[in-house]
């Protein structure tokens, strides 16, 4: 599908969903207004009599007498009517109090509140997206470099050191040897624990830290969105897979023959330094990895759409599960509970627009890169 066609499809789907939800919004607001009018009309007509004070028992008795005098054969019905009016007044008072708390109209004030929440949500989303974009590439490269250096897992190193200890003549050497083994064990435990954190759903981490930290801050939310829900680890692994696949391609061999640097040692001058791995604009001049990295990143760009959708879901989960008041997704949950469906529709529409904008941006970015690298349109699964 060409870029123009893709954009057209995005715009068409945005238009369709807007029309669909807009119609639904119109009917929801209409239904709310009709519900207000269609409360019990007969009772409302009695309550509308300005000369009767229904708080006063004398007035109520007077109304009953008047009704009995007017329709003498329906005394029992009149008594029922007076009781019903009493009950109706009580229940409408209670419902009114409840509704004042729960029911919210889609007023200009509410629009303003929602806009602020939406702006906050977008800002957090962009910030987390930027951090994960950086994190995925950095950790992916680190893992790839470790693989190229043939580094074994720390647990294996620990077990090997434990079971194949050589004989030393001095106790100091023994201590040094086993200290190194314990160091491997500690590193293995830290990595295993970090795996648990990276795979833990956000609410598990947040609830376990609730007594120690203020979990309602934006900083905590951003940190949680980056590290939890398996987002970082999943896409790091994806990026790492792209790196491995690229490293097996023929052009890498050609580049090696052409004398590009191939050392992956951090200590080598021609190797991969930590500074270039951790820098935001990653660049590995005169190294074969530069080309592996650029090609892997190009493939990774095409998965950003999927990552963005995953991230938005993650943010919604965090805001909803932690009941962080004043946030967009918590508002959605609250309004669902209070059955304010007009507000729910507006919030869903807002989230849909954000996903669509991300999709358009990613398609544009992929298109731009494909013109640079391939000089043809990329073939996407979508």
């Amino acid at each position: 599908m060409t870029f123009k066609k893709k954009i057209l499809e995005h715009l068409l789907s945005a238009f369709l969903i807007t029309s669909l939800l807009g119609t639904l919004l119109y009917f929801t607001i209409e239904k709310k207004n009709i519900e207000k009018i269609q409360s019990n009309e007969k009772i409302e007509s009695y309550l509308g009599l300005s000369f009767i004070d229904f708080e006063n028992p004398f007035d109520r008795a007077l109304l009953l007498d008047v009704l009995n005098a007017y329709e003498p054969d329906q005394t029992s019905e009149h008594e029922t009517l007076i009781r019903t009016i009493e009950q109706y007044r009580k229940s409408s008072l209670i419902a009114g109090m409840e509704e004042a708390y729960r029911k919210e109209p889609l007023s200009s004030k509410k629009w303003q509140q929602l806009s602020l929440m939406y702006a906050k949500f977008i800002l957090i989303y962009m910030f987390v997206m930027l951090l994960t974009y950086y994190g995925v590439q950095t950790f992916g490269i680190l893992r790839f470099v470790r693989r190229q250096q043939n580094q074994k897992s720390h647990l294996l190193c620990f077990l090997q050191q434990l079971f194949s200890a050589p004989k030393f003549s001095r106790i100091k050497d023994y201590l040094k040897y086993y200290l190194q083994a314990i160091l491997h064990l500690i590193k293995a435990v830290i990595i295993a624990s970090s795996y648990f954190v990276l795979f833990a759903p956000a609410y598990v981490i947040a609830y376990s830290l609730k007594t120690q930290l203020n979990t309602d801050t934006i900083f905590f939310m951003i940190t949680l969105a980056v590290i939890s829900n398996g987002l970082l680890i999943t896409y790091t692994n994806k990026f790492y897979t792209f790196l491995v696949a690229e490293s097996r391609k023929g052009y890498v061999q050609t580049a090696i023959v052409k004398n590009l640097n191939t050392s992956y040692k951090q200590t080598d001058k021609s190797g991969i330094s930590y500074a270039s791995v951790f820098s935001f604009r990653k660049h590995f001049p005169m190294h074969v990895f530069q080309h592996i990295f650029l090609n892997a990143r190009y493939q990774y760009l095409q998965t950003i759409k999927e990552q963005a959708s995953f991230l938005i879901s993650g943010l919604i989960i965090i805001e909803m599960a932690l009941n962080i008041q004043g946030h967009f997704s918590y508002e959605l949950l609250k309004q669902l509970l209070y059955k304010n469906y007009d507000i729910v529709i507006v919030i869903i529409l807002g989230i849909f627009y954000m996903v669509k904008l991300t999709e358009i941006f990613t398609d544009w970015l992929t298109h731009k890169k494909s013109l640079k690298y391939e000089n043809i349109e990329p073939v996407c699964a979508k």
């Binding site: 609830y207 398996g230 959708s309 938005i312 919604i316 989230i351």
Partner: protein, 294 residues
């Protein structure tokens, strides 16, 4: 005896090199250990709840996998067929609808679906627990099956570029057979299986999350009473939440660490089962992809 040890060592090394099998064994092993520990130290009603929640979670997730596979295969087939047929308009309509579903964040779609389930329960239309769980699985799969379709389209498009596709067509073999049997069954079933393992993990995550959100945020009478117990809803219970808080407490008070495996066992077990299962499924999926060079 020496031979036996060597045999065991060789077998262990072979299993360790096949990471998917290794992690499957680790998953079952750790689950068994957790069960034994809980039998010893967790009270009977809580243990029954945890087992019920875990089995229900596995049942729903397995059902999500099956439903996503069936839906994905059928719709993916239609998309692949329409793409090259003269019914281009059908292709555009179908992909347009699929893209709209994709643009709705999974969690929102599933949440709205669950609202529908609670409505059906209150209206007394849905009351059988198995039927409720099946409906839950169907709703989750509606927002996941797109992944299967993407894979099927990718595989079909890849093979369409190769000579054998046209050669088979020239030989008079029907396109349905080429796609279903030669491309998907003979050449892509490992890819599909790998995708289904990943979907199993996503289903567990989404289901636990939505159950947690519903139980915490929308704790209406229906959600707390009528929805089947799952790991997510168990975690949202007040006693489980207190157990989870105890984990944080150990960060500041390390001497409390030993208490959490005895006094806070319910919540810790539920949280552990969720996280460890997600980790194990991820490792199995990765190992499977690595072993089959996908």
């Amino acid at each position: 005896m020496n031979n036996l040890f060597k045999k065991i060592e060789r077998r262990s090394a072979s299993i360790y090199s096949q990471k998917d099998k290794f992690w499957l064994i680790v998953w079952f092993g750790i689950l068994s250990l957790t069960l034994i520990w809980n039998i010893l130290f967790l009270n009977k009603p809580a243990l029954d709840l945890v087992i019920e929640g875990f089995l229900n979670t596995l049942y729903i997730s397995a059902l999500v996998v099956i439903l996503s596979f069936i839906l994905g295969w059928i719709i993916g087939l239609f998309v692949a067929r329409f793409e090259t047929s003269r019914f281009q308009i059908l292709y555009f309509v179908l992909t347009f609808i699929l893209n709209i579903i994709r643009s709705i964040p999974q969690i929102i779609g599933i949440l709205l679906g669950y609202m529908g389930i609670t409505y059906l329960i209150t209206a007394n239309i849905l009351h059988n627990h198995w039927l409720i769980m099946t409906t839950m699985a169907l709703i989750i799969s509606l927002f996941i099956f797109n992944e299967v379709i993407d894979l099927i389209r990718e595989r079909v498009n890849h093979f369409r570029k190769l000579d054998f596709y046209n050669a088979m067509k020239v030989c008079g073999i029907s396109e349905n057979r080429i796609i279903n049997f030669d491309i998907l069954w003979k050449n892509s079933r490992i890819h599909i299986l790998n995708k289904l393992i990943a979907i199993f993990g996503s289903a567990i995550f989404l289901q636990c999350t939505i159950d947690f959100i519903i139980s915490v945020g929308l704790s209406t009478q229906v959600s707390s009473v009528s929805l089947p117990t799952t790991l997510g809803s168990l975690l949202a219970k007040i006693d489980s939440k207190q157990d989870i808080l105890a984990i944080g407490n150990t960060l500041m008070n390390p001497s409390y660490f030993s208490h959490i495996f005895f006094e806070h066992l319910q919540g810790v077990t539920v949280a552990f089962l969720i996280v460890f299962t997600l980790l194990a499924v991820y490792k199995i999926s990765n190992g499977f992809a690595e072993r089959n060079r996908l």
